[in-house]
Amino acid sequence: MKRLLSLALAASALVAATPGFAEELANQVMNGRYQAILGDCSGCHTVSGGKYLAGGEALVTPFGKLVPPNITPDKATGIGNWSYQDFRNAMTRGVGHDGKHLYPAMPYPNYSMIPDRDLKDLWTYLKTVTPVDRKVVANQLPFPFNQRVVMRGWNMINFTPKTFKADPDKSPEWNRGAYIVQGPGHCSACHSPKTLLGADKSSGAYTGAELQGWYAPNITGAKRRGIGDWSEDQIVRYLKTGTDGKTTASGPMAEAVTNSTSKMTDADLKSIAVYIKSLPASEPAAPKPLAADDARMTAGAAIYRDNCSACHGAGGEGAKNLFPALKGDAVLMQDSVAVPARAVLFGSKGAQTAAAPTRPGMPALGWRLNDTQVADVLSYVRNSWGNAGAPVAASDVATVRKQGR
């Protein structure tokens, strides 16, 4: 921010002779900064607790390891030598400086929707970020995936640059939401199932997907697994504060809330809510819940009573704003138990936002419960208080434990 200001000041000093230009530049920088929030650049390109945009934590993809590079304007290790055209190619075509193909862990298929004006402002803003000298080896994939040229073939099959086309039959609010969700917000990057090639599947968009040991849940209008039962206000509150009062963002979503959605305008959050509520509901029918006298349920009930009920409530009702309600919780209803298993094994930490600075936390119980016990308590919460889900196997928990946090 300081740097932003000094840039604006310097600009105004330089162009004092042409009034209006400095103001225009400041507006561009501010709009560019907002574009960086919409696109959540720092979510990938900043290490937790590290220097802003100086490169991020490794992404573990099914194809191997990719490290988000340094995108500060440092000439040696960042993008200080790039031109706007280089940047535009990277964002909209997946082709970086010196013609190297980017991997689509960088969501250029989504970013290609960003209109030129916003892209230019984003570029103007990125040049004001403090340059950081930090070398990042982005491509740590094994052969043959480390051959960037393979991305040419991938792009031929999976990628056509899109421009966002507004639907004239829908409200401007809906269209704005659709643009943010499909475009810069790149929600599909986590929430849409992937093809074998790692592209978004054309069917089942936003019905949830496994990612880096986490599971991004269904965000369609589905009642059981998705946000069909949520009001628009609930969604706005969740994206702004990390909780709608009943459920709490954790893991990568907590980061996305902290870095991105909590900084969006209320109008944009409302637009997102309007749009995702309109996503066609897609979920399988609820299974029959496990019988209460099933051995897994009785063990699970004892484990729940002794370890979980003090915060999550004897009836799974949770405590408003603090502890998630498990009764009716959509995250528990996904096919994957990765998220709840991680929470039990390793603990969890909610999002930290300006509106809700105290992040609620859950302690780790993996030292106290073995895999069978974790599986049983998960089976119990998935099949109690009206919830219904497939029972959890100890081997599923073992996989999550082995992966580590």
């Binding site: 004892a302 002794d306 009920s309 936390g361 780790a364 993996g366 419960l369 073995n370 016990q373 100890a394």
Partner: protein, 252 residues
């Protein structure tokens, strides 16, 4: 021991104050201020380490035999509970005396050593480990003086009880700087701790002590039971390591 001046001189006090100020100014700052978010790390748990069964870390073989015999008289096996030894009290004592407790790591252990008031507890120079070592040796000697060539373990329960009673009253003279009454009280307290402490520390096997008195374990929430009057609480006791009702023993 040289006697220490009871009052520091004014000069010494001032000099001390100045040196404190200088040290304060030169030491690296160890305080942190946090803003924005709580410095709470995920999965940063440091759970207590359960005692490993098998072997002795502090007691010598003779001491194990003597301590077991004493535990079995202090907490005899009956229809209320297993004996102190079967409940793991000797293992508990062994691990505690071999660890920081035995070394009195949390206590101020430098002189001067004056006999304190009864309310002040033990004021002597011995660590708990030294007190047990010396106390058990003194008991062995006293037993040998009474019945030459025999050990406490050779006695029948009645004689053992009579001897322990005389210890409790302070009638046995240890002659090694320890007082038998104080030692007995100390030993009894530690044995009871073994009987009622969480099982992960080696004693209270299968929560026998807790089952005896109906303690449901370290639970933190009884709200659901508050309005249920005159109904027994049916949950099995839970220890830090868990509860039998949790199942899943097989892969633990």
């Amino acid at each position: 021991m040289t006697s220490l001046p009871l009052r520091s001189s004014r000069r010494a006090f001032l000099a001390g104050g100045v040196s404190l100020l200088v040290v304060g100014a030169l030491s690296p700052v160890s305080a942190h201020s946090y803003s924005g978010q709580l410095p709470w790390l995920i999965d940063n748990t440091e759970p207590p380490v359960p005692v490993k069964p098998g072997g002795w870390y502090f007691f010598l073989p003779d001491e194990v035999a003597l301590m077991s015999a004493i535990c079995d008289r202090l907490i005899p096996a009956d229809d209320l509970s297993p004996s102190g030894t079967d409940a793991g009290c000797v293992v508990f004592l062994d691990r505690q005396l071999a660890g920081p407790y035995g070394r009195a790591e949390r206590l101020y252990m430098k002189g001067p050593f004056h006999p304190g008031l009864p309310t002040q507890g033990y004021q002597g120079p011995n660590t708990p480990a030294q007190r047990f070592r010396k106390g058990l040796a003194a008991i062995g000697k006293a037993v040998d003086a009474k019945t030459p060539g025999k050990k406490f373990t050779d006695w029948d329960a009645k004689d053992q009880d009579a001897f322990l009673t005389s210890l409790e009253k302070g009638d046995v003279k240890f002659g090694n700087g320890l007082d038998s009454k104080t030692f007995f009280a100390f030993m009894l307290e530690n044995v009871m701790e073994g009987f009622f402490a969480d099982p992960i520390y080696g004693g209270n096997k299968d929560m026998a002590g807790w089952k005896m008195i109906g303690f449901p374990g370290a639970r933190y929430d009884y709200r659901a039971w508050v309005p249920q009057h005159n109904k027994p609480f049916t949950g099995a006791p839970i220890s830090i390591a868990g509860s039998v009702q949790w199942g899943g023993k097989a892969d633990k």
